[in-house]
Symmetry: D2
Subunit: 484 residues, 4 copies
Amino acid sequence: MSKVIKNGTIVTHDRTYKADVLVENGVIAEIGPDLKGDETLDASGCYVMPGGIDPHTHLEMPFMGTYSTDDFDSGTRAALAGGTTMVVDFALPSPGQGLLDALKMWDNKSTRAHCDYSFHMAVTWWSEQVFNEMETVVKERGINTFKHFMAYKGALMVQDDEMYASFQRIGELGGIAMVHAENGDVVADLQQKLLAEGNTGPEAHAYSRPPQVEGEAANRAIMIADMAGVPLYIVHVSCEEAHEAIRRARQQGKRVWGEPLIQHLTLDDSEYMNKDWDHAARRVMSPPFRNQKHQDSLWAGLQAGSLSVVATDHCAFTTEQKRYGVGDFTKIPNGTGGLEDRMPMLWTHGVETGRLTPEEFVAVTSTNVAKVLNCYPRKGAILPGADADIVVWDPEKTKTIHADTQVSAIDYNVFEGKEVKGLPRFTLTRGHVAVHDGELRSQEGHGEFVKRTPNTATNKALSRWKELTAPRPVERSGIPASGV
Amino acid sequence: MSKVIKNGTIVTHDRTYKADVLVENGVIAEIGPDLKGDETLDASGCYVMPGGIDPHTHLEMPFMGTYSTDDFDSGTRAALAGGTTMVVDFALPSPGQGLLDALKMWDNKSTRAHCDYSFHMAVTWWSEQVFNEMETVVKERGINTFKHFMAYKGALMVQDDEMYASFQRIGELGGIAMVHAENGDVVADLQQKLLAEGNTGPEAHAYSRPPQVEGEAANRAIMIADMAGVPLYIVHVSCEEAHEAIRRARQQGKRVWGEPLIQHLTLDDSEYMNKDWDHAARRVMSPPFRNQKHQDSLWAGLQAGSLSVVATDHCAFTTEQKRYGVGDFTKIPNGTGGLEDRMPMLWTHGVETGRLTPEEFVAVTSTNVAKVLNCYPRKGAILPGADADIVVWDPEKTKTIHADTQVSAIDYNVFEGKEVKGLPRFTLTRGHVAVHDGELRSQEGHGEFVKRTPNTATNKALSRWKELTAPRPVERSGIPASGV
Amino acid sequence: MSKVIKNGTIVTHDRTYKADVLVENGVIAEIGPDLKGDETLDASGCYVMPGGIDPHTHLEMPFMGTYSTDDFDSGTRAALAGGTTMVVDFALPSPGQGLLDALKMWDNKSTRAHCDYSFHMAVTWWSEQVFNEMETVVKERGINTFKHFMAYKGALMVQDDEMYASFQRIGELGGIAMVHAENGDVVADLQQKLLAEGNTGPEAHAYSRPPQVEGEAANRAIMIADMAGVPLYIVHVSCEEAHEAIRRARQQGKRVWGEPLIQHLTLDDSEYMNKDWDHAARRVMSPPFRNQKHQDSLWAGLQAGSLSVVATDHCAFTTEQKRYGVGDFTKIPNGTGGLEDRMPMLWTHGVETGRLTPEEFVAVTSTNVAKVLNCYPRKGAILPGADADIVVWDPEKTKTIHADTQVSAIDYNVFEGKEVKGLPRFTLTRGHVAVHDGELRSQEGHGEFVKRTPNTATNKALSRWKELTAPRPVERSGIPASGV
Amino acid sequence: MSKVIKNGTIVTHDRTYKADVLVENGVIAEIGPDLKGDETLDASGCYVMPGGIDPHTHLEMPFMGTYSTDDFDSGTRAALAGGTTMVVDFALPSPGQGLLDALKMWDNKSTRAHCDYSFHMAVTWWSEQVFNEMETVVKERGINTFKHFMAYKGALMVQDDEMYASFQRIGELGGIAMVHAENGDVVADLQQKLLAEGNTGPEAHAYSRPPQVEGEAANRAIMIADMAGVPLYIVHVSCEEAHEAIRRARQQGKRVWGEPLIQHLTLDDSEYMNKDWDHAARRVMSPPFRNQKHQDSLWAGLQAGSLSVVATDHCAFTTEQKRYGVGDFTKIPNGTGGLEDRMPMLWTHGVETGRLTPEEFVAVTSTNVAKVLNCYPRKGAILPGADADIVVWDPEKTKTIHADTQVSAIDYNVFEGKEVKGLPRFTLTRGHVAVHDGELRSQEGHGEFVKRTPNTATNKALSRWKELTAPRPVERSGIPASGV
Ligand SMILES: [Zn+2]
Ligand SMILES: [Zn+2]
Ligand SMILES: [Zn+2]
Ligand SMILES: [Zn+2]
Ligand SMILES: [Zn+2]
Ligand SMILES: [Zn+2]
Ligand SMILES: [Zn+2]
Ligand SMILES: [Zn+2]
């Protein structure tokens, strides 16, 4: 059954124009004036945009014998409710576990997804098995992005030499390296010091992960990626220090992308000073929220293009789970929600204020993600042949964010009480109208895995440059050739 | 008569894919597999890209009672020969001359154009007449860009207060401010000093316009544009100093674009040290060529996105004209050619080396220009409905640049002897095949003026932000209200 | 009558040690253990430091037919009360007035000084007379510093070409250029715009002089000084933008010094939002107070050495005088006090917090000033033969700053209510004990003019470098020498 | 027997003046006009300056079963010949060896010293023993500086967590942390990769240690020092990347010093491209020489004050020793000479060119070293009571550097053939005239160990600031305190 989106204004990352959109068999069949279909979606007064893509989620992530509360069911429903039509989750092997083995677990969990999804593969330890399986992950499983944790010492963290080896392997495979950038050694020591000094509350979580440790790690990852000749994607850039390292790298021609989160763009570290322990603990994530100076830096980065995409790191734990850390902040599960609110919050604080144009909004919430991760223009585009992942955005629609009316499965919302202006009227996932005039009509299991191939144009260009500038031996006849 | 471009790989600023292109009535009618038309252009092994747009030319520019040698005839033929399908020239009023009066002169000259063109309007003096005519220029003549010269003291140069007034006016009209950024006071003094010291040769031209004077002026223009709340486009960014000012501005959320020239990207200041006076004098332009450090900065800027487009400032004077300045470098007419070689030189030194991807090449030579100047996607796009300004680019085709085989009317070429790899097989201007398998078949007078409207999304966003953050009076009851 | 300062710890810009100081005939006669003199000043528990030097004051400055209220009498008494033993004031010619003529007026006013003083000469207009008199000012009057106003359009402001000419002249004379850095054209326009929009209160003074206009002017002055080959001293650096320009210049080997004021280090722009008009108007100075970000930048500059000295720009107007500007902020006389409080405020917020060491405190309040202005070690030193300008500093002494107990002649204090820790026990001016255990015993007319000679080592080094790197003509035989 | 240095011009880090200097019992007894002594040294036409202090040498350093060739005998003779009167060497424990044990070895070697010396203590592994002995090293042995190697994996290198633990310990003891900053993991991998690719020559040494790995490590050490609250001294800063990290840190108020070497200031990486293997191998040191861009950065750093001292890292291996690495660059012993030439080379390229003033020369070669390392003003000063470590510098004396006329024991000189202008006429070490009119008359065993105490003013200030800004727990009543 075909559908036509009528009377809207199409906004993509590079143009804005009035046209109807005809959707057939889950893809965009035609774009133009006066189109007709079996069903009509009225987009009067609305922008018709590529559905959001969240490049960074953790749905049903294992943690201390339990799981993050939003799974591929509630998580992708929340996504759709907020105009996001694709998520990219992280397959996380336990230390010693094979990559393919871990992927199977994520395959299982993701069968419930209401929208399309893809995976990043995490490299949490290093061995010949990991080295070998990386090839299969890229070539057979359609995953070209590998994440490394520079923090979480004793758990997910890898050492510099492991990271360098992995980055070189990624380079050979034409993939993209990713890092969670915080100096795990220093964080671990700071945690112990803070606990020893009686700093046990959630605010100490922020104290233990200051901007300096993030900036340092970002800078280090950039150097290692440069030496390995591989493009680098730095997740959850929260501070000026990390952003500065990225800017500096880009100004040397390095291929580095930075991903700020909607939380860091709109919330600050005063949240951790809240007298209510629950309030503070619910905001515990890594990196923590920062102050105004850092927020300004992130916004400017989106404007200038030195930061590329906006994500959520959605990893939702209930208050009950958060309370594991009463008396010891290091036991508070790390993570906050955001999937449902990323698009409205960014529109409200970005487009409504004039910091971003609507086209830039589309770029950072969708198109840039699809381009960097290599699923454009199947995703992130309003083009004939593209998947019909579309959000019909009503810029006049408003609401106040409340936990008790949200789709996400957790019992609170870090944006509680915030007014937003700009919300989905319709959200389509591969043609299915998952949000209809604000009403959620999504289908469990509708989502499919999106393969992403390696060897992007960026990989090729970088490799060419590295070859051109590679070390060459000096030719000498007779060595050594001289006396004094 | 329809034409179909077959078997090529389409490359736009955001995607690369195999498809044929059907051209009818001067526009792109269809894109897809297996298209048919009356005439077939074989693009096997080629990239099908938006024709280049040169945002900065001076064709038949009046100078000392004569004119720059390439006019809208030879200049646009040279453009097409090199894959460029649109030029934007500068209408330059003499001091005291009205804007509309000057435009008439440019209208007359441009009737001979072989490809489409548009104009920037220069503000070379300030008065109520200028203020008033600016509105007509924008609303009736379809020009939204206004250029200001911060150098050429006693001729085109405007003072800070004039520039600030003009920028505010542009802001009201929804236009974009442009500047030639060099501190004209200091240049004028340096010129006199150098002449007095016996530095009369063309190398003294470079000495008289060091990077510092360009960086200073760029920085000043940025501040004034910020105060006026208007987007700013800085032409011919040649050095790290100006680039640094632009980067710094962008990192504060300012809307500033920088335009490096192909000459500054690929030639350096050692040219002025040539023992052959003619060799050096032919390279005299403002700003002059710079050293390797500055070139590296410009390339990195294109890679990082802190610089946006590549132009030529094509303003071609013959050797005979250059020799006006024998014995006094200040009399050497300023300007070099480049229109014919911009695309091949940038492909060779950018794409072939891996510094730029093919998509980035399209962006900086065409699409970004069209977007910033607001004629996208009529220009700069391979999309149904877009003008059929297309270059079929053969990445394996090579040549050595020689003045005696060039299309441009001047008697030398600043790129003489350079090998290029990557050249047009076909160039189409609104559907007309102006270059056919390397053979020039362009038509005098085929070119049309391209109107460009004001109030871009960037203008609107910037204005909104400026309103939000505008000064507000403090409310006081009783003034003054206190004793000590 | 000799005096000995006993039992104190001497702190200079480069060392800290216990020793007594013997003073005879106004100079330091001896430093060592167990010294004896006719009179003993007990420095137990105190630091014995070079008296402060304020490089930037405006005592009895003419303004709108009246004068700034603190003159060389009350001003220098206030200085001594706060531990400052020398001030450097600005001789300001009216437009058209000769330099020597203006100096005579300042000679007359300064006869009342209680402590030593020197003058900077202002260049407020340009002519052959000014050019010629500059030599006399340097060679006969012992003044090697020339100040230029880039703001105050229509009054003191000079144009770029005038400034460049003056800077070159200063270079020839071996002097040092100084600037008040704000873009006067933009300020003037902003003032008119703000008034027109009903922004008439003192907060509009801050709106009219944002950090951008200061940063721009600083950057411009630096470039012009670089072209002229002259060292540059930028007064009242209030913001990150100007500081950034200075840092950038210094990192290119340029000889530039920046002078933050104690007001900008410790007060912020929220003062202008005060509901009390008088409160806000009393803080009106140029540049205005800035926010925390800028304060942090200034403190770090003092720590890093990118900023060199701390001054006051003391220019004190009474509340009555400030009220000239009721209804029109542009008529509020610009200037605040600070002479009396500079040293205690800097000690409290610098040394007590650990941002500065005591030696760094001495450097930025005294020794660096003497070195840059070329009166070291006659001033700014605790060395045998140096003038006995000494402050015996009690780091445990505290007070709360109140206008009603101050020495300054004005009726308020911008630091009103601030607690300070660290105050003079004794202040000696050329051996005379002007402050005795907190009691003021200064003598009108005791102060003498301090000559400062040109051609410092910095001048010589800079000139040598400029010669080495000066433009050289290319030698050519036969010009032009070639055909195509 | 007293000596008087007559008719010279004294130049210290802060002043220049004519005076005689009387030396008695190894210290400066008096400074003034017309002094008399038993022996007269004629300083006519000369500058009388504090003897140079080289903060970074490796005399008789153990390496692969042999030792670096210059020992405390030949090394300190070379030092004196070039005007350097004190060296600070590194006591290097083998992994597992105690600190005090290692110090004993250095005590033994240094008995032959001809000039005074001190030691830095290296922390090359981590244990409770090391932790405990650090206190003894500081309190009993008079060493307040602890060096850490971030490179030399498998040998001297320490991990981040060890470094952080050590830095915290240093902070408690009031000491100063030092690092050799290169990322050892990446260097080790690059070495293997280069060898595997057939890059076996000395140029591959440079390829294996690019500026990026140095900049990264410098940045990391700065962050760790900041977290530990300890001042940091970065040895042999060779490149813009490391310098940039230092500048950035200093601009955040961090207490970081950078030490460029005379080699990096005056020699570049083209040396490694020399066709003569010996020529290249003799220049092998870590970090390697860099290109012009980096040199410019280092010079500007000295001018701006962002870099503090100039050293040599003197570690001299003979050609024979260098040849251990024929066929495998990783086996070439790392190190070059410089002790003898540091002062003349810096004078020639710094003062003679106008980049540095004579006072700045004294600061970076002597006084700053003494201040940072805490032996000022016993060393680094021309003051009564200071050790008579004095160089009488003849600015007109010239020579061409040749290995066959040098004092150093090695068989070549990296500055071979360089002309220098500015050489010692006399060098005094604690009053002994070790160089007399160019003739070396030094005494083996004359040199004494210089104790350096902890808890400098910088330590105290930093600690105070860290206390003030330390994390504070939020006070909460009832945890958790809320529902949703
Ligand atoms: Zn993470
Ligand atoms: Zn995550
Ligand atoms: Zn121009
Ligand atoms: Zn132009
Ligand atoms: Zn001023
Ligand atoms: Zn002033
Ligand atoms: Zn080392
Ligand atoms: Zn070393």
